[in-house]
Subunit: 138 residues, 2 copies
Amino acid sequence: MKLDERLKADCHVICELTESTLLLLNNALVDWFILVPHCEEIELTNLPFQQQTAILNEVNLVARFIQQTCAPDKLNIATLGNVVSQLHIHVIGRKHSDPYWPAPVWGQSPSEPYTEEQVQQKKDQFTAFLNSTNHQAG
Amino acid sequence: MKLDERLKADCHVICELTESTLLLLNNALVDWFILVPHCEEIELTNLPFQQQTAILNEVNLVARFIQQTCAPDKLNIATLGNVVSQLHIHVIGRKHSDPYWPAPVWGQSPSEPYTEEQVQQKKDQFTAFLNSTNHQAG
């Protein structure tokens, strides 16, 4: 599966999971992860239900990671695809203190790129989290 | 389960399903449905996984209804809850011709209330759809 050019430009790849590729949106102001399922279908609900539940399991995994490492006040989970049609699912940790709260995150400014060190730290945190949960990487 | 006051004010109740109450947001400019699961938990991913998949099944049902009756160009599916904390899942049929495309629907204007006849028509369409799929109402 080829990652959409816009997702590639806007995100860091954190990890390959069984069902999807986990991305981190390059904006350090909010804990914004994106799962890109390994498929050509653009509508989540058009996939076989078993594949949907397997993807939902990875949404749960990322949600748990955010809850354990980012202390969010609320999770935002969404699949829109109006601009980038490749199926992708946003899993976002929102805080009352984030600059966009309580608005949805899309199309907001300002934005602040992660440093290389911060990205590596997220990757290391996620790897450690995966090991602690015995979840298999893809 | 008591429906949040803001959801009650902004929506029409279409149907009680097994896992959730199906609402229609009172804006005829976009095909915007909301599932309110019968639970106190505010995070979808904190629910038992079996309950999540049962809710996902109803998301699929509403998605199929929108695809069959509204001819959307794209589905938007999301659970945010930044303003209304009661767990609710948006299932929205988007069209290239809708007034907000390609932006997300939240916080957009203008908005146009449904007529009573239109609401009744949506209810009748959904009932007919349920009968055609043999899905049980709650």
